[in-house]
C-alpha cells in the first residue's frame, strides 16, 4: 500500500514540493498505476535485460578541439548571475 509518507518520501527524492491535496491525489493514482505495473512480476528472472536496442560498440571520434558556446551565450537564460557566474541557492544553512 502506498501511504502519504511514501508519497512525501518520493516527492523529496524528486525534489518537488507538494500541496496536501496533491499528496492525496497522487497517493491513490500511484497505487492504481503501480498495481498495473505488478504484471511485470510474471516475467522470468533469467532473461537478459536489453539496455540499448541498436548494437553500437565504442563509437570513437577524433579528439579535436571544436567551437563551443561563449560565456554570454551559455549564461543568457540564467536569472541569477553574479560576476559572470551562475548563482545558485545556499548549500549550507
Amino acid at each position: 500500500m502506498i501511504t502519504r509518507d511514501d508519497v512525501l518520501h518520493i516527492a523529496n527524492l524528486a525534489k518537488i514540493q507538494l500541496s496536501d491535496e496533491e499528496v492525496e491525489k497522487f497517493k491513490d493514482e500511484f497505487q492504481s498505476i503501480l498495481d498495473y505495473f505488478d504484471i511485470l512480476d510474471e516475467v522470468e528472472e533469467e532473461i537478459e535485460p536489453t539496455f540499448t536496442v541498436i548494437q553500437l560498440r565504442n563509437v570513437f571520434r577524433e579528439d579535436a578541439p571544436g567551437e563551443c558556446l561563449s560565456r554570454e551565450e551559455a549564461m543568457m537564460n540564467a536569472k541569477h548571475v553574479e560576476n559572470g557566474y551562475f548563482k545558485g541557492p545556499k548549500v549550507v544553512e
Binding site: 505495473f37 511485470l40 543568457m76 541569477h80 545558485g88
Partner: protein
C-alpha cells in the same frame, strides 16, 4: 493538406512571399491552437529570399513546422512547459541545421504535451490542440500541434518526436502521415530529452512521398548524439515488390476502429501482390507496463536538470533543497510531476529489480518477438490507435490515458521503424493504419505505404 508538389507548383506562378503571408494569416485566424510560437518575420524574410532565387536545397521555400521540444537557435523553445516558457536556446538541433541547409522555411514551433508526456496535448501549459476534423476533440499527442498544422494547412510538413507513439497518434487522429524512424537513424542532438533510449525525431506530412523526402533530409550521421547509427537514408521506389504482410493479433481496437481495419484487411487479401498472415506477439502483454516504467525512470533522471539555476523558471534564492523543490513545483505540470515521481520510485533502493530491470527484460522479449516476426514477413500492420480521437477531457484518469498507447509503445521498446497513414474515416473522424518494419527498413514500410496510398485512392476507400 498541401503536398510539397502542390506547393512547388504554386510558387511557380505565385510569389512564395504571398503564399507564406496567406499561411500566416490562416494561422492567425486558426482555432486549433497548434502553434506555441509563430516565426512570422523570419519566415517572410526567407520567402523573399526564395523569390529572389537565393534559397536552395531539397526543401527550398517549403514551410516546415517544428515541435517545440526541438531546439531552435534564438527562437523560444518551451517543451510546452511553464519551467521553460521563456527559454531561448543558443544553438540549433541537428535536424534544424539540416532543414536550414536544405532551404526550408521554418514557420513556427508546435504545441505538444508538456515534455512530450501525454497522448492528447491536454498536458500542455499552453492549452490543448484541437482536432482539425472536430474542434471538441483532441488532435492526439504528444506531437498534436505537428499533426494539426499539416491537416489544417498551417504548414506543408512538420517534425515531431515519438517516445511511445507521439508521432503516430497525432498522425492517426489528424488524418496525416507520420513516421518514427529506427532508433539511431536521426540524431537526437538538440531534442530536449524525456526518455532517450526510446525517442526519435521523425517527419509528418500529407503523403508518403513527402514523408520520405523529409526523412532523407533529417537522417544521417552526427557525432554529437552518441547513439546515432551513422547511416543516411535515401528513398528507393520498389513498385514491383510483393509484400508478405503480418497482422499482429495482440494489437486491436474498439468496434469502430476494427470495422475500418477489417475493410483494409479485406482489400489486402484481395491483392495479387500481397499475402496476409496472422502473427502473435506474446510479450505485448507486458509491453505497456515496461514502456511506462522505462519512460518514467528515464524522465526522472533527465528532468533533474531543471533546477532554476542555469535556465528556465527561477524564484527567490533559498536553501538548495527548498529552492529546487519550489521551482519544480511551480514549473512542472501535474503529469510531469507524476512521471518524475513514479520514475524516482521505480529507481529507488529496493525497487530497481522489481520495476526497471524487469522492464528491460521485457524489452528483450519484445525484440525477440519482432525479430521472429520479421523472419517471416516484410511488414506488420495494426490500427495505430485503439479508438477514434478522444473528446477533450474524456481521458480523466492517468492510467486510462496510458492504455491508449497500447498499439504504439512496443515499437519504441524494440527501436524498430513504424509509420501511421490515413486509412479512411468513421463518423467523419480519421482512422490511422500502423505499418511496422524491421530495423532500418524504412524503405520497405514507405514502399508498402505508397502501394496502399495508391490503392486507397483508386478504390475510394479513404474518402470521408
Amino acid at each position: 493538406m498541401i503536398s510539397v508538389a502542390e506547393w512547388k507548383e504554386r510558387v511557380e506562378s505565385e510569389k512564395c512571399y504571398d503564399l507564406v503571408s496567406e499561411m500566416l494569416e490562416r494561422i492567425e485566424r486558426s482555432r486549433l491552437n497548434a502553434y506555441i510560437t509563430v516565426i512570422e518575420n523570419e519566415a517572410l524574410r526567407k520567402a523573399e529570399e526564395y523569390d529572389k532565387g537565393e534559397l536552395k536545397g531539397k526543401l527550398a521555400g517549403i514551410p516546415v513546422a517544428i515541435k517545440d521540444n526541438i531546439t531552435t537557435k534564438g527562437i523560444r523553445t518551451t517543451c510546452a512547459s511553464r519551467i521553460l516558457h521563456d527559454y531561448v536556446p543558443p544553438f540549433d538541433a541537428h535536424v534544424v541545421e539540416r532543414l536550414k541547409a536544405e532551404g526550408a522555411i521554418i514557420i513556427g514551433k508546435t504545441n505538444m504535451d508538456e515534455f512530450a508526456m501525454g497522448t492528447t496535448t491536454e498536458t500542455s501549459f499552453f492549452g490543448v490542440v484541437r482536432n482539425p476534423y472536430d474542434e471538441d476533440r483532441v488532435a492526439g499527442g504528444s506531437s498534436g500541434g505537428s499533426g494539426a498544422v499539416v491537416a489544417g494547412e498551417e504548414a506543408v510538413m512538420s517534425l515531431g518526436s515519438d517516445t511511445g507513439g507521439s508521432i503516430r497518434c497525432p498522425a492517426s487522429f489528424c488524418g496525416v502521415y507520420g513516421l518514427k524512424p529506427t532508433y539511431g537513424l536521426v540524431s537526437r542532438y538538440g531534442l530536449i530529452p524525456y526518455a532517450n533510449s526510446l525517442e526519435q525525431i521523425g517527419p509528418m506530412a500529407s503523403s508518403v512521398e513527402d514523408l520520405a523526402l523529409l526523412l532523407e533530409v533529417i537522417a544521417g550521421k552526427d557525432a554529437r548524439d552518441s547513439t546515432n547509427a551513422g547511416r543516411s537514408f535515401e528513398f528507393k521506389g520498389q513498385t514491383e515488390k510483393k509484400f508478405k504482410i503480418g497482422v499482429v493479433k495482440e494489437m486491436g481496437g474498439n468496434d469502430e476502429v476494427m470495422g475500418r481495419f477489417s475493410e483494409v484487411l479485406e482489400m489486402l487479401n484481395g491483392l495479387t501482390d500481397g499475402e496476409v498472415v496472422e502473427v502473435s506477439m506474446p510479450s505485448f502483454r507486458y509491453a505497456l507496463a515496461a514502456y511506462y516504467v522505462i519512460a518514467m525512470s528515464e524522465a526522472s533522471s533527465n528532468l533533474a536538470r531543471y533546477d532554476g539555476v542555469r535556465y528556465g523558471l527561477a524564484s527567490e534564492l533559498d536553501s538548495w533543497s527548498r529552492y529546487f523543490s519550489k521551482v519544480r513545483a511551480e514549473g512542472f505540470g501535474e503529469e510531469v510531476k507524476r512521471r518524475i515521481m513514479l520514475g524516482s520510485y521505480a529507481l529507488s533502493a529496493g525497487y530497481y529489480g522489481k520495476y526497471y530491470l524487469k522492464a528491460l527484460k521485457v524489452r528483450t522479449l519484445v525484440r525477440r518477438d519482432f525479430q521472429k516476426a520479421f523472419s517471416q514477413v516484410d511488414v506488420l500492420i495494426s490500427p495505430t490507435m485503439p479508438s477514434l480521437p478522444f473528446r477533450i477531457g474524456e481521458l480523466a484518469d492517468p492510467l486510462t490515458m496510458y492504455k491508449a498507447d497500447v498499439n504504439t509503445v512496443a515499437i519504441n521498446l524494440a527501436g524498430i521503424p513504424a509509420l501511421s497513414m490515413p486509412a479512411g474515416f468513421v463518423k467523419g473522424l480519421p482512422v490511422g493504419l500502423q505499418i511496422m518494419g524491421d530495423y532500418f527498413s524504412e524503405n520497405t514500410i514507405l514502399n508498402f505505404a505508397l502501394m496502399l496510398e495508391k490503392r486507397f485512392s483508386e478504390t475510394g476507400l479513404i474518402e470521408d
